[in-house]
């Protein structure tokens, strides 16, 4: 977080710690009479995995879409690196450095890994596709993320396993100097080993300094990698705390009833 500009921070209460990469205050979104998000506050910090938990219909997807520019908020404020942020399209969000890995991964099965990673942003050389440069960049990115299980970056994505596809989708997001990577249920369709591989990759992203927002309702995943946990219930943020202060039961209570009377057991550290 060296990109913080001094003195332009938001005049929000309790601004007593380091400025987060992304700060939401009072963000609301409604679709007709339905309030999808109500007065949501959230901070997302670089170098941390922030898990967003919530039951079905809690507003997790709307939250992602609000941040990534698909559904701009109706009310409230967002700050990006300390500056007021307005995004009205995924393109604008991408320009800021916000990349989203959707649950369906948005990969073209018939294209190879390199072609997928550069789709829509191909490098050109004298009017033609610059395959060499793209292939090297793709390989470097995959190597830097320690994604070494793929046979060749020129194999079609159709021939990859579920975990490898997820890795490619994540690497695609990272390729663009993204600062915040949002992931929607990255392990939903994966087996045990593949899940471990993807979660390790998620952790590495944060350790490299990216901010990661992980949307999941798999408590195992959440407690495996998250630094902080935010819980949404019926469009309201009912809690946002360090993962160490929570446990499974508390999160489930918060997700279902919005409150938890449990006091967190001092857990051994997540790692």
């Amino acid at each position: 977080m060296t990109a913080i500009t001094e003195g332009t921070g938001p005049a929000s209460p309790a601004d007593d710690e380091e400025l987060p990469l992304l700060r939401l205050r009072g963000v609301s979104k409604h679709f007709g009479p339905v309030n999808a998000l109500t007065e949501v506050d959230l901070d997302i910090r670089a170098g941390q995995v922030t898990a967003l938990a919530g039951d079905n219909g809690a507003g997790k997807s709307v939250m992602i879409k609000t941040i990534s520019g698909i559904h701009p908020p109706d009310g409230g404020k967002m700050w990006w690196g300390g500056k007021p942020m307005r995004v009205h399209s995924p393109g604008e969000a991408a320009t800021l450095g916000i990349e989203t890995v959707y649950q369906d991964l948005a990969l073209c099965d018939n294209l190879d890994i390199v072609q997928n990673m550069f789709l829509g942003r191909e490098r050109m050389h004298r009017g033609q596709l610059d395959e060499e440069s793209m292939e090297n960049a793709a390989r470097e990115t995959l190597t830097s993320l320690a994604v070494t299980t793929v046979r060749s970056v020129r194999q079609p994505v159709a021939s990859l396993s579920g975990g490898q596809r997820q890795s490619v989708a994540i690497a695609k997001a990272v390729l663009w100097n993204s600062k915040l990577v949002i992931m929607d249920e990255p392990t939903a369709a994966l087996g045990v080993a593949q899940t471990a591989m993807v979660l390790a990759l998620v952790r590495r992203l944060a350790d490299r300094g990216h901010a990661v927002m992980l949307v999941s309702h798999n408590m195992n995943d959440v407690f495996e990698v998250a630094d902080r946990i935010a819980v949404l219930r019926l469009g309201r943020m009912v809690a946002e705390r360090p993962a160490a202060e929570m446990d499974r039961q508390i999160v489930v209570d918060l997700m279902t009833t919005g409150v938890s009377t449990r006091v967190a057991q001092p857990r051994p550290s997540a790692e």
Partner: protein, 427 residues
Amino acid sequence: MSNLKEANSTPNAEQPGGDELSTGAAPLPDSTGAYLRASWVRIKGGETGVLPVVAGLLLVSILFQIANRDFLTAGNLVNLLVQAAVFSLLAMGEVFALLLGEIDLSSGFVAGVSAVIMAELAQPTVGWPWWAAILTALVATAAIGVVQGSLITRIGLPSFVVTLAGLLFWEGVMLYILGNGGAILIQDNTINDIGSANLTKAVGWVVMLVIVAIYGAQTWRRDARRRDAALLAPPPSLTIAKITFALLAGAGLVLLCNADRGVLVPVYGVPWVILLVFAVLALWTFVLGRLKFGRYVYAIGGNAEAARRAGINLTRIRTTAFMLCSLTAGIAGVVYASRLRSISTSLDGGTLVLYSVAAAVIGGTSLFGGRGKAMHGVIGGVVIAAIDNGMGLLGFSAAAKYIVTALVLLIAVTIDAVARRNRPEGT
């Protein structure tokens, strides 16, 4: 070479995270053998390319040759290639639509409209020069493609229905322009030459050498660039082998064409139309393989939603693809009329378009989008012409030709389906 391998395998060994499922990145092949092995793995994995259809073409040729010794004569083979030209051109156009996962049923009669416009304008009573007549015909067909493509992409109508309407509509337009006479003779020599003239022997050699030189330079530069970038690339020996093969194939084709194939008067030389098919093939291969547009066509055919999220303008790419499809059909129409030296109501655009779809699929293009090449159209067109030609030599009726063509189409699709089953998780 061994140094290169050393240098490239070291970073792999240092990578963290090698504990989980890691098999390590494949080291770069350092020899011809390794490269060929990598290619073989790809083929076994279902990425067979044009191999099945080429094998099939060889098989069909051998069978016809056994049945009739006239099949593999120089004269017949050149005739066959000329006969294939219209199918190949139409099929190359169709590949654009098929790559999107769409279909263009109108291209047969779009070719007819192109032929009629050209023939009409080149008539002595109208008196347009040949190039203006052809250019107008091609612009008109491109415009037809834009109109049909816009209906499909902007209003969201299914391409099957829009181009089915196109099939009927453009047949009507063609018949309307042909009017009561039902035929227009073409008296312009240049236009007639497109379909029937040949290069002289010497020019044939020169043109072939120039084409192989360009291909060789391109191939060498590309492979060298990949080697310099330390990417998986064929070693120099294999690059040279590829270029040598192209030279031999070119020389074989020129020798074949330069043999006398006349019956009463000597006829020899490379037909212009073969050159034209090669030119269109080279152009569309470049467009599909080296330009963003081509990449986006594949992406849309593979996963339109992913392409849209990547910021690709689906409407524009799709409409352009339909335009190129119709434009290529327009070129096919010019060749068709030029070969017959006339255009008449006998043009059967319905059969032509079905043959062109069959040719593209026989060549290896998928009907479900995202997989195909311009080359598939050419090879498929040659297969269809070979069946037509070979069975004609054997004295079979049209009925038998249709039946055999249908069986070949089914075999081609079956081979493709079986080959792709070998892929771990296929589309």
